[in-house]
């Protein structure tokens, strides 16, 4: 055997080894992922059943539960029809520890002496188990007597190329993703999600692809070649899938960025939308592009346009930072205007996130309760509202 031949053999052997190795890892990964997807449903059911046992034991021992407290809201929260035309103003909150922990949320409720009828959280698209329909989360919120507001974010890059060979490579996927959704490329993900939502059966507020008109924020914005008509087409496509799967319990919250112009062009139409949402967040002097805005200053310009949709309005994110301003005064003014200026606001959801890293390198503190006086004030307002 010549040395060259030996070298060749070694070369080919190595090639084969690597090929077998890659096939082994890849095969196992696909098998494990598939198996897990199959087991996951059963696993969730078992988890929920155990969780319910815990809940019953807890109620038996503590003689009280959050559900009893929220009993007056029950007629509204338990019926999709009633929730479409709410007869009372509803308050809600999101907590930054969701979905891992409810401790921060419990602390917030404790400090303002209130139980929120709406609990808000965020869910991203993707292949991972925690990116599928958040059964445990919505069930938990339901058991606690509240209704879930799910902000559903189409991060199309989170789908694994290995598992989804028919999708574009990750680097090209974000461009014109909304048109791609509208074409049905992501139905593999949407159908099981919608089916699970239908199976859940009780009302959910679903806020799909929010702030779609903001070119600085999310990949589904106009900067990636997503035109307004693409958004509308995607919205309708997703909506139709939910209809087909019988998910009539899902209420659609259309939620543009109201400080950006031309959001009206993104409106899919009255028969496709149940609520119109918006964020009211005051960044104060935290960055060069921001300054101290009051609740009224943020909302006043867009409000007339929002009214034209003739849908109940929801503030999906309400909050203020404390840079260069008085937080207590901000909330004082906000509640004043909620009462006197913006009568069509049917729901307000506090954004209780103490370490928001989505906008800047250092975390922003959106905690609702920044001082005992703020807590006392909000508690008083919520108390007054619940007597009404």
């Amino acid at each position: 055997m010549t040395p060259r031949k030996k070298y060749q053999i070694a070369f080919f052997a190595l090639g084969w080894l690597v090929a077998i190795g890659v096939a082994f890892q890849f095969g196992l990964k696909v098998v494990v992922t598939r198996l897990y997807a199959r087991v996951a449903d059963g696993w969730t059911t078992v988890g929920q059943a155990i969780s319910d046992v815990e809940g019953r034991a807890l109620r038996g021992v503590r003689h009280t539960s959050r559900t009893d407290y929220l009993e007056p809201f029950r007629p509204i929260l338990r019926s999709a029809e009633a929730l479409r035309i709410p007869t009372r103003q509803l308050f809600g909150a999101y907590d930054g520890d969701f979905p891992k922990s409810f401790s921060g949320f419990a602390k917030l409720e404790e400090s303002v002496g209130y139980r929120f009828p709406i609990i808000s959280f965020y869910a991203a698209w993707g292949d991972k188990p925690e990116q599928q329909f958040p059964t445990r989360m919505v069930e938990t919120i339901d058991r606690m007597g509240s209704v879930a507001l799910v902000t559903w974010e189409p991060w199309v890059v989170d789908f694994d190329s290995a598992l989804r060979p028919n999708l574009l490579p990750r680097s090209q996927r974000e461009y014109a993703a909304l048109a791609s959704i509208a074409r049905g490329d992501y139905d593999f993900y949407l159908v099981p999600w919608a089916t699970a939502a239908a199976k859940f059966g009780r009302p959910i507020l679903l806020r799909f692809a929010h702030e779609m008109n903001d070119p600085y924020r999310y990949p589904w914005g106009p900067q990636n070649g997503n035109r307004p008509e693409d958004f509308v087409a995607a919205w309708k496509h997703v909506h139709l899938i939910f209809q087909k799967m019988g998910a009539k319990n899902v209420l659609w919250v259309w939620s543009p960025h109201i400080s950006m112009p031309w959001f009206e062009y993104y409106y899919p139409g009255p028969e496709w939308v149940d609520w119109v949402g918006m964020g009211v967040l005051n960044y104060g002097g935290v960055a060069s592009w921001s300054r101290w805005w009051s609740f009224h200053q943020i909302l006043e310009k867009a409000y007339p346009a929002l009214l034209k949709f003739e849908k109940p309005l929801i503030v999906c994110e309400l909050g203020t930072l404390s840079h260069d301003g008085d937080v207590l005064e901000w909330y004082r003014q906000a509640f004043y205007h909620i009462d006197h200026t913006y009568g069509r606001l049917k729901a307000i959801v506090f954004f209780n996130q103490s370490h928001d890293t989505t906008m800047s390198q250092y975390p922003l503190n959106w905690s609702v309760v920044q001082s005992p006086r703020v807590a006392a004030f909000i508690a008083m307002e919520l108390e007054r509202k619940s007597v009404l």
């Binding site: 021992v61 989360m137 606690m144």
Partner: protein, 518 residues
């Protein structure tokens, strides 16, 4: 216990099946896949977003990767699996068999051993190195045609007596036979041929037992040794790192003399072999069963033996290893480091037991990873580990009796973690453990004394579960209770595992209690 019932099958010469070419290819492929799986897991494991509590993450990483690292080095060793070709013994060598007796060792055992030694075919002289000061032993030696040497008050275990006996004898080769071992007639014929190579300093044979059927502990303790005396030592033979294992090793006199006699210490066999290797002597491992002895059959003897080994091995790691390091070959450096750090498993076990307890009591946990991702990345490693373990069992010395999952051995090893930890701590502190020969008779200790550690761990687990139940019912917010069900259950499951792992030792302690009352 069935396979251990037939005495005629047990006391028969056995040799490991030869290694075929295709088997090497399959093993190589398995090892390649295993190695790749390890890299795949490592690449996933160390990610900042997984870290929950940095300190606990560091501990968990240490425990996990210590285990995986050992496995990988073990694979590397297995890849070199090699068996020496059988070599007939040249006639006319002068051979001595040394067997030692100490006070408290049963007389009947020596009757059997000396009788069997007399039946060894190759011409030899048997010596009984005796410090019992019991006239019956001298009488017995005379009857069995052995030379009786009265050697009282010498240091060390066997080593002191062996060194004293070496002086004034002239035999060129010395078989150190453990007194509980019954040698087969072909013993010396299977071993002496390898000394034809003048560089070979010692030849070790497999250590096998005839009493694993006696009790749970005996079976478990024997199971722990099967793979070691099978493929692992064959791999060590392949890399020139085969060690003397304390029983049934045959030495060349000049080799022992070159290092100033047999080494002393709790792991004197290992001390001797590291010194011989450092002197440049070669070693041969013969994967054959040419004698069978006793394995500890009650828990106390087993734990004492394990403490002694772990203390002794750490001594070698801390004292002998650095001294010999420069003169060892690359393979030997790795090999002795691996042997020396074997009993760190006590420390890693402690970490594994502590982590769920820390979560249930204090709510802190090391890493936030998805179960599905963990399974996806750890499963290939686990599968490869099991596949390799299963595959290499084809080279066990006596597969009919030794093949299997060895779950008893694993349970007992896991249950003995506290002893390994104790040995490690004692070595670090430099506390001396007195030498007591591994008991050949049943030792008695109360159930509660033996069950202390596993029972305490199980009690702690119960306390953690109760505390969690109390917290769920009275302290934590409703939402938190409802959403954290899976984590709580997962950790409780982890605890259940730990409790199961303790069950081996607990069961052994309970069985011993029954045996005592018989």
């Amino acid at each position: 216990m069935r396979p251990w019932a037939d005495v005629s099958e047990i006391f028969r010469h056995r040799r490991a099946k030869p290694v075929e070419r295709w088997e090497r290819w399959v093993l190589g492929l398995l090892l390649f896949l295993g190695l790749q799986s390890v890299l795949y897991m490592a690449w996933w494991w160390y990610r900042l977003e997984h870290v929950q509590n940095p300190f606990l993450f560091a501990l968990l990483s240490f425990a996990t990767w210590y285990g995986i690292f050992r496995m990988v080095v073990g694979w590397y060793n297995l890849f070199h699996v090699e068996q020496p070709d059988p070599k007939p013994a040249l006639p006319g060598l002068s051979v001595a068999i040394f067997t030692t007796s100490s006070p408290g060792e049963p007389y009947e055992m020596f009757v059997r051993t000396l009788a069997a030694a007399r039946e060894i075919r190759y011409p030899h002289r048997t010596y009984l190195l005796d410090d019992t000061q019991d006239p019956r032993f001298a009488q017995l030696a005379r009857e069995m045609g052995a030379v009786h040497l009265e050697l009282v008050g010498l240091p060390g275990a066997k080593a002191g007596k062996i060194n004293a006996a070496l002086e004034g004898r002239t035999e060129e080769f010395i078989l150190v036979l453990d007194p509980d071992h019954v040698p087969f007639p072909e013993f010396l014929d299977r071993v002496l041929g390898y000394f034809e190579d003048p560089e070979v300093g010692f030849v070790q044979v497999a250590q096998a037992y005839h009493n694993p059927g006696e009790s749970f502990v005996a079976r478990a303790a024997a199971e722990q040794t099967f793979v070691y005396y099978g493929p692992i030592l064959q791999g060590m033979h392949g890399t020139g790192t085969a060690v003397a294992v304390g029983a049934n090793c045959t030495f060349r006199r000049s080799a022992l003399e070159s290092i100033g006699g047999h080494g002393l210490g709790l792991a004197e066999d290992l001390v001797t072999s590291i010194r011989l290797h450092a002197r440049g002597w070669k070693s041969v491992y013969v994967p054959e069963v040419v004698s069978r002895g006793l394995v500890p059959s009650d828990l106390q003897s087993y734990l004492d033996q394990q403490l002694k080994w772990s203390r002794g091995i750490h001594d070698v790691l801390f004292h002998e290893y650095p001294r010999a390091f420069r003169r060892l070959s690359g393979y030997q450096r790795i090999s002795y480091l691996m042997i020396g750090s074997y009993y760190l498993v006590g420390l890693t076990s402690l970490i594994y037991f502590a982590i769920p307890l820390i979560y249930l009591f204090f709510g802190r946990y090391p890493a936030a990873v998805l179960m599905s991702e963990y399974v996806q990345h750890a499963l290939p490693v686990g599968l490869c580990g099991v596949a390799v373990y299963g595959f290499v069992q084809r080279w066990l010395c006596d597969p009919a009796r030794e093949r299997g999952l060895h779950w008893r051995g694993t349970l007992l090893k896991l249950g003995s973690w506290s002893v390994y930890l104790k040995g490690f701590v004692l070595s670090v502190l430099g506390v001396v453990v007195p030498y007591i020969p591994t008991s050949k008779e049943k030792r008695t200790a109360s159930f509660w004394k033996q069950a202390r550690v596993p029972a305490l761990l199980i009690l702690l687990s119960l306390a953690a579960v109760s505390w969690t139940a109390y917290r769920i019912l009275f302290l934590v917010s409703e939402g938190q209770v409802r959403i954290s069900t899976e984590v709580t259950m997962g950790m409780a499951g982890f605890l259940a595992f730990n409790t199961t792992f303790m069950s081996g030792r607990l069961y052994a302690a309970w069985k011993d209690r029954e045996r005592r009352s018989e």
